[in-house]
Symmetry: D2
Subunit: 403 residues, 4 copies
């Protein structure tokens, strides 16, 4: 690999890979069974909690956070490799305290949180003691255009009052979820990107109601869950606002760059695992006198996925390096590019893998339907592909329009 | 439309369309709620049962069956139009007693059933009093190559003894399901396509166990269900075999032609509804100062789907006409073509519609995730796309190899 | 085929097919050699002229023209089948006096020409004695938006004066080309679609200069040629205007419907021939111990092309039938659909065929590079795909916006 | 860019870019006119010869050759960047003495040539005094399977006798072409990859006949040309064989790795130029009240091309680095990947650019038709995409089959 890692990063990466493949993946089946058990779902799994503790003890913890002493101090490029390894199993990120949206929420608190905010919320998050959710998307407007946001965070003396309805608040169903980060309109008369505020809301605060949990292609993603949440006259002291009123967009933007690398690299890890499953199945089953993988265009599809995955990975690592070297401002186009590319690569390989597995592929005997749904959802979460294509094209045209 | 309908067919079609749009689609939401209610699922919905009765009274019944007096006596081309109308809602086919796999099973019994078999099974199926399942696909082998089949239907004196494991036996969860049509190996020494038998099995017969119901992208498709079923020394009198031992493949082939037209036309109906949902949403929501549908390449996608749907429909109607005129033997390639084309058209338009709906599209607030899954599953059910591509290519090469 | 033909049409079709396959295709190689001979190009080929005469004598003449006594009196649907047959060879259309742009120009004269215009121009065109060109597209503006047109046709007393520059005037290099139909702006103050006039211009008229002949992917398409033509103070009597000033768009619109069916069906014929070449080559050459056609995904591609061609053909025939029954006004969307679909089908199959032929495919030993270029050019001639997608989407949205 | 260059490499790259954009691209139009002039074609262009001399004087020469003192001593990764810059104009590679097939032929002579061979052929090639061709592909067999080769290089005492027919011998039309490298069967009884020999043949040797020059989508690529060449009892001393009899495949394999990086990076340079042309045109022309580039899905296409080009470039640079570090043996899959990826990226962006330019795009007013043809031909030259997909898949399966 051209993107060389420091010795420490390489050792950490090797260990993460080992734990994912040898300890976490074998827990998937029992985990899924437990979650589907109506008497058992929405609880944590002791084996995973124990593994978390071991990883924490071993220092395999908060690997995503480049800022020491909060996190492990790896660069985005280094962590990107680890995120790929974690992407191989949907159970892996939490084991290393690296799961969304907690990662992004911790970054917000690291960079913008007051001392009091950090003490109350950041510390337990870093310790993996609590979980959090991010409440931005709304059901009643096209959230791809963030300025459509209707929820309000109105200043009222020493207080801020929240009203509105959010959905796709991921993680809100987790038994340990205690913090919601809410985004709402504070000052409609301010300049367009200074109208909104980000507010820290205890999950159990009066006026906060989790109306329901939303399924994603039939899965509730226990024990995280994606909530539809209403905020009705939720009153909080003004110092619950992160970094002061009107800075919501600024913070949200900063939150997204590394987060998109994480998502993208996890998607690539998921794509690699999917391709592996596809090939293993294709070699082990026979039809018309041949292993499935050697029938028709199947080998061409394997080659296409190999090329797509390799290219997507290089683009992500390149983008991570750009951010490490020059900051997010020099990588707007690239961050949008990986957002699109990685999700599509995963969706496509999962679609082909499902096809090769036949009925088994769409059932829950295998992680394929989930892997596919994961890729599919990434194409619309955090801004749909189309919005990112517009961003990329805009950057591209800039080079010529300036002239 | 070039494919002209008789006056009776046109009147029936108009009525079917009206019932689907005005009476059935409004029942979808309450139906879905009922099915998700753990105290309520897997039961029939009184409103739908009442509507069924009304349709039966009105003669909108067994429309798929060209053979009078069993069915309504429409040609495949005529019924194809009605199947499209029914495809608009997953609840519609049963309302008109036209749902798979009962339709195919009824056709088997019409064409190959003995008088006794018809009396016992066909009559209540035609009356909509019982439901049935078809047990062919197996979990342990690549069922795309039907000769892989491992289940056995062994002759033993006056009896036939069934052993093996089947899955994706659709409809087996339905409260009224009473009949299973089982396919198994009878004589491994017979010519390749005369080795298997089709056997009529009462669902509650000793040795038959529904091991579990399989989810499809998270949905159990209540109240039909897709079962994994074990057959352990299931003993039946020899006259439970349809048309005699060794004729399984012959019957299965005949069963598939019209069935694939039904599936394909329903997929086209589903695609039309999906496109409608996409456009309505795209016109009603706004981002960046424009209706979503007018942003970026969305209108190009609308045009692409319109072209794809129109072409797929014409191909299906053309195929139906070929079968009506010349029989299935003159339409092998075409039947495989529509199998592929219609499913892919549906999957693609549903994927784009989901993208335009954002999060709502992957939830169960809308039928989109189900519509997508419907298209996706059709790409692998009844033979995956790849097997059908091979059939088409084989027919194509025949023209040149003969020379 | 579902689209049944009259006995006369079927007999004509059979004869056209026979002549194309047995008499015209064998002339392709000598024709191409003659055209490439610098001492020989841009002349007519005696064998083709003789064949034309025979076809004329046999009544296989002006088959495209539904209006008797001018043409053969076939419906658009009937002629569509013949156009497909002619599409198998680029030499075929002229043999039956059915080649663009003469066909469109004859239709203009049939429907809009004065008696004098018909006598002077239509008669010799119908007789195949002269050829013509159509001068609409301009080099300096995006002609996809016809209102961009800059050339002028200014009224000056009893005269009309033409100025401007046109290109892609196909047929202008033909030794027999005598008529140009020119379109230009007459009255910029008139309503948007009544500003332009269509004018009949003798090719040798003073002020008309063929500046050069344009290659299409390296081919000048001898002996037709695509000209860039300047018009400098070209003065003509006012009665050279077709149907009077300001009716240019109206006439151009009417000209396009049937013309697009012809183009599309010829493209389908070309696609069929290409697929045939691909399969024949793939069966006759061997690599890695197998006929090429059976390697990798080649058979899947054959199947994909079969499905695409069949669907495109049905869409064209359906569109032709719509026009026959209800007129072009009920088929705007469909006419745009076939414009896109047929060209893309041809381009794709030609691309795959080239790939299978390797180097031979891009050379001029085979018609493949030309067939490909034919498909490619059709995607942008007569309005690029994108403009037609916009038309289709507009029609689609109309259904919902009305409500 | 993550792939950091040495200071010398960066300075060279900057200079190459400057010369390409400021001096070479402006020569394209006069060059094309000269080549099309029947009295002028197939001669060298004085301006280019002068520029070559200047580049040589400046040390911008043989940049592709990592081996000093023969070449400039850049790594493959470093040269890859320069190859991209040269890919912007088809005239550029020769200016820096870096054009195929001379580059590959020089590498063969550097690595396998005897002292005498190097003296006679390598020196003038390195000096740019002569040009050469590579004669491997044959017209009568599927050359994608190299073992199909039918031409013979038979040992006869102290001599080797060549017989057979080759085609697509690029460069053979160049006025300075003096050397052909011929590959033929020497010992059919040897192990499969030791049967063929590579022989150095003076172009004017008795028995060598350039039968004709082959057009590529209508272009003869003057002054290089692609020849069909017959070898009839061509007798040469045995020491004309490179590295001894039976080593042809071994040498051919070694020749391909870096060559494919060059081809791929030039394709990427060509793709960048094409995208630039597309955007500039799209910004400068207007239809329906908007710059073309902002209509419909055009901006999405720009974004798609940006993502594709960036990913392809990273994959090429990554592959070059693999070869630099570990040799070609560790990069078989990657070399095949870039072979496919880069050509397809170029073909696709050129296709979209042509669409945006309309008629101008398919003419020879612009380099677009050639850029497209360049990408198209790369998909089948040096092994078609399908063969490379098979290689990639084979490497992929190895990981699992070993187990």
């Amino acid at each position: 690999m051209v993107f060389d890692l420091s010795e420490r990063a390489q050792a950490t990466l090797d260990r993460v890979r080992q734990i994912v493949d040898q300890e976490i993946i074998p827990l998937e089946a029992p985990f899924n069974r437990a979650m589907k058990n109506p008497d058992r779902g929405w609880q944590l799994m002791p084996e995973i909690e124990a593994l978390k503790q071991r990883c924490r003890d071993e220092g395999l913890w908060n690997l995503f956070l480049p800022v020491e002493p909060y996190g492990a101090g790896f660069t985005n490029t280094e962590y990107a490799h680890m995120a790929e390894a974690m992407g191989r199993s949907h159970l892996a990120p939490e084991v290393f305290n690296c799961n969304a949206p907690d990662t992004g929420n911790m970054e917000v608190l690291v960079h913008y949180g007051s001392e009091a905010q950090q003490k109350r919320w950041l510390k337990p998050l870093l310790n993996g003691e609590i979980r959090s959710a991010f409440c931005m998307t709304e059901p009643d407007v096209a959230s791809s255009d963030a300025t459509n946001m209707q929820a309000t965070a109105t200043l009222d003396g020493d207080e801020v009052v929240l009203n509105g309805r959010k959905w796709w608040s991921t993680g809100i169903g987790h038994p340990n979820c205690e913090l919601l980060i809410f985004m709402g309109l504070t000052d409609p008369d301010a300049p367009r990107h200074q109208q909104h505020s980000m507010v820290l809301v205890p999950k159990n605060h009066p006026g906060v109601t989790v109306e329901r949990l939303l399924p994603v292609f039939g899965s509730l993603h226990e024990p995280y869950g994606h909530g539809e949440v209403s905020f009705t006259d939720v009153r909080l002291p003004r110092d619950a606002i992160v970094a002061g009123p009107g800075r919501g967009f600024e913070i949200a933007q900063g939150r997204l760059g590394p987060g998109r690398i994480h998502h993208a690299m996890r998607a690539i890890g998921a794509a690699e695992r999917t391709l592996q499953l596809m090939i293993e199945r294709g070699l082990s089953r026979t039809a018309f006198g041949k292993p499935l993988i050697k029938l028709g265009g199947n080998l061409e599809r394997v080659a296409d996925h190999r090329m797509a995955i390799n290219q997507a990975r290089l683009l992500c690592l390149h983008t991570a390096t750009l951010i490490d070297r020059y900051g997010i401002r020099k990588a707007y186009s690239e961050v949008s590019q990986i957002k699109i590319v990685a999700a599509n690569v995963l969706q496509r390989v999962a679609d082909d893998a499902i096809q090769l597995f036949g009925g088994a592929g769409v059932s829950d005997d295998l992680p394929l339907a989930d892997l596919w749904a994961n890729g599919r959802v990434l194409r619309l979460a955090d801004g749909p592909d189309e919005v990112h294509r517009a961003t990329i094209a805009k950057q591209e045209l800039k080079r010529y329009e300036k002239r």
